[in-house]
Symmetry: C2
């Protein structure tokens, strides 16, 4: 007869405590298989608790399979299998051995990689106001099941915005909303199928090749020239889908001219399974002239898959991206992928829909353009006045939030990095994003000014001068 | 010399309009390759506009590669390639041919599939209040880059909640937040690797097999008996990873007894690459006794991958799910998948963290349990009093938001569906979720009462009676 002390039960209910005591005894063998449990009445009297408590505890143990009842005979302990030996590779959990996420790197004086502006200048008050309206309206669109491709309200607002600002004619039906460009890229690879061979720009945004690799899609790097992805290399590769960012290539800032665009479109149109993924990221941020029309607007809805995100243009905390599929691919997507639920919260989709259609988004972009342009001008001016000017050359400073600074230096890129670390600054180099064109991209710094405060500019230049002190001395 | 009427420019700037006119003429061949454009001064005088406007238009055309400048000679039209013939399979876009998303099905009198309760009872006021706080605080966690596995604040709140309410001991590090269970399942399949063979329960939740198929993972159906997935069938399959919902199987409501759980754990521990995915969906909603402890709590952090979602327990509009990985898999995930950005908005993660840690979530669950239990009791009472009672049997009514109603009927499932359609009700049948056990599951209705209003209950029963009118008549 088990004898459990009801005093130890703490804030648990009596039945819950009793259930746990008996379960423990079954698991540790004190109550062996086949053992008959005391009758409910007897146990209740013994423990000075109600019969209902015992009943509830027994019912739970029956539900979970620890005991079974036999009519007229009472309750018996089930035959649990013996404790299972662990396989060698499956030792019990040791929390101390748990690999932690990387600790934040030691504070740097300056970070030429970070983009804090977008965060500081995020229009919290407006967003918050719109979100409040959405939450208080509580309308059907926000509460019901979200269509696989996102709320109609957001797709419709986007379709209007894209026509006005990017010259893109698209039906809201063709737009697919997803939680980040990486997510959409993953789904897209699935739609394109297992026989797809991707081609990435070299240098370029490495993440897409990582995603391709992790999904088992074969991919290839195609070198760039001054006009973008080289068509001759592309024609010699087995790739059937290419990833390009023609409006503002990352990280070189190259704008792909119309001739190269038409060549790539021609290549794509020659075979049914060829497609072009156009990543239009940062295209709104152009400081001289108007923003460059996307390839999607030249194509007639056949070969170009357009992608863009609000994580960069709005704030990284919001994970909303979208892609526009040409009708052939859209149909395939509907047939094979629309069973996947939309990954973006309806509240944020609706808030963003208001934010765009009420004009806040355009205003935000214009404001950010002003802010970034001012920062860029400050940095360029300071550079021109500095000693660095004699040994370096600025490239592609008219768009985005960074430019390239090519330095005539005797240092290798590794040495540059080491010296930057000594000065406690975070520095990105073009060679970080380059696979095969190592020599050509050497000595080229990526100067991201987005996170730089105006009063930090002189210090920033001074620190870079220290990195290249020997080269500057030699140039005198 | 082009002659453009500046009157037609509408609200465009002069330079933008001029740029578009010239671009149009280049694309349509009016300005052929090699043609020299008029000098800036000449064109400005002719069109009665400023030289700067012409300069800006030419600069944009140069940037986009339509024209090029030759020092001292002026600007020339570039040689664009000929318009490209479309491949047969790539005809221009016809918006009329666009396949639209399914129109909403004609209104049904009653929908036994929908779950409107969770929406109606979503605590908007509280959520809105917390969201406001998060937005106005604007703190670093919400604004910075989100860790790959989600905000620490949310993972920590979850870890505490899970220990208290599900007996799960887990380190916040092991928790991975994602935009929906489907998303996490996709990533998980990638971590498990291409050699994985999945096993699903039959009957079961079909979506996971669709996801497996769409990612190229091989999968198999393993029949269930009254205790869950059959271990003998499992041992005869080549599967190395199984997907189960032991606390409340969908759609049968089976609770897997401890014996079967230990058998599955033993199977998993025999080989290093074997794992169990435990889908704990709906586990909070148990109306008799306490909720059943998850397998994760029995396992010692080695073989069970725990998954759960807030889309069901909170509201479908919010796309937040999570999984807990055992350390071996976590390390593999960190090595191969942590480059993927987290897919959930930081604002909503932080709001949910507050919602859980300030006790609102437990209160919400308790409230929903009351609401669902009352609805269930109403439906069960009405059923018992109805004529259906003579020809049917209720199964597994103590958890979740549905139960099974097995009817002794001469109708086939197809006939039942057709008769339900005639009565304009949406009805799900067990056979909808069953692959190989057709005969056993025939004549079994899935009665989801979550969306049913109290005053609809009698009507609901009456309509089901009409579907089975012949069987009821025969039973008199």
């Amino acid at each position: 007869m088990p004898n459990y002390s009801m005093k130890d039960r703490g804030d648990r209910t009596i039945y819950d405590y009793l259930y746990q005591c008996i379960r423990e005894d079954i698991l540790n063998g004190s109550l062996p298989a086949g053992e008959r449990l005391p009758s409910k009445r007897l146990l209740a009297r013994d423990l000075n608790i109600s019969v209902t408590s015992v009943e509830n505890a027994y019912a739970q143990l029956v539900l979970e399979g620890y005991i079974h009842g036999e009519t007229g005979r009472g309750f018996f302990v089930n035959d649990l299998i013996e404790p299972v030996p662990f396989h060698e590779a499956a030792k019990p959990f040791d929390p101390k051995a748990l690999k932690r996420q990387e600790e934040p790197t030691p504070a740097h004086v300056l970070d030429f990689k970070a983009n804090r502006s977008s965060v500081e200048h995020f229009p919290f008050a407006t967003w918050s106001k719109l979100m409040r309206t959405v939450l208080s309206e509580g309308n059907a669109a926000v509460l019901g099941t979200i269509p696989y491709n996102g709320l109609y309200e957001l797709r419709s607002a986007l379709s209007t915005y894209l026509y006005r600002h990017r010259g893109i004619k698209t039906d809201p039906e063709q737009i697919i909303i997803g939680a980040g460009t990486e997510y959409l890229y993953s789904r897209l690879l699935q739609v394109l199928g297992f026989n797809t061979v991707m081609a990435m720009e070299d240098p370029g945004y490495k993440k897409f090749s990582e995603i391709s690799a992790s999904q088992g899609t074969v991919w290839d790097y195609i070198p760039m020239d001054d006009e973008g992805m080289r068509i001759d290399y592309l024609r010699n590769s087995s790739a059937n889908v290419i990833h390009v960012s023609p409006s503002n290539h990352f990280p070189t800032g190259t704008v792909m001219p119309i001739t190269r665009r038409l060549q790539l479109l021609q290549w794509a149109r020659e075979k049914p399974e060829r497609y072009i993924i156009e990543d239009d990221y940062d295209s709104e941020l152009r400081y001289a002239g108007r923003s460059v029309p996307p390839m999607y607007a030249i194509d007639e809805g056949t070969k170009v898959i357009y992608m863009n995100t609000f994580s960069k243009s709005l704030v990284p905390s919001i994970r909303i991206s979208y892609m526009i599929l040409p009708p052939y691919l859209l149909e395939r997507y509907q047939d094979t992928m629309s069973f996947y639920s939309c990954t973006v919260s309806a509240f944020e989709q609706m808030t963003l829909a208001h934010f765009i259609s009420e004009g806040y988004f355009s205003r935000h972009i214009n404001r950010m353009k002003q802010i970034y342009k001012q920062k860029r001008d400050l940095v360029l001016d300071a550079l021109k006045k500095s000693d660095l000017n004699r040994i370096s050359e600025i490239r592609e400073a008219n768009a985005g939030t960074h430019f390239l600074l090519h330095v005539n230096t005797s240092l290798t890129d590794k040495q540059i990095k080491a010296k930057a670390e000594e000065q406690r600054i975070e520095l990105a180099l073009l060679s970080d994003y380059t696979r095969y064109q190592g020599l050509k991209s050497m000595g080229t710094l990526i100067i991201n000014y987005a996170g730089l405060e105006p009063d930090q500019v002189d210090l920033a230049i001074e620190i870079i001068e220290r990195v290249f002190a020997d080269d500057i001395a030699r140039s005198r």
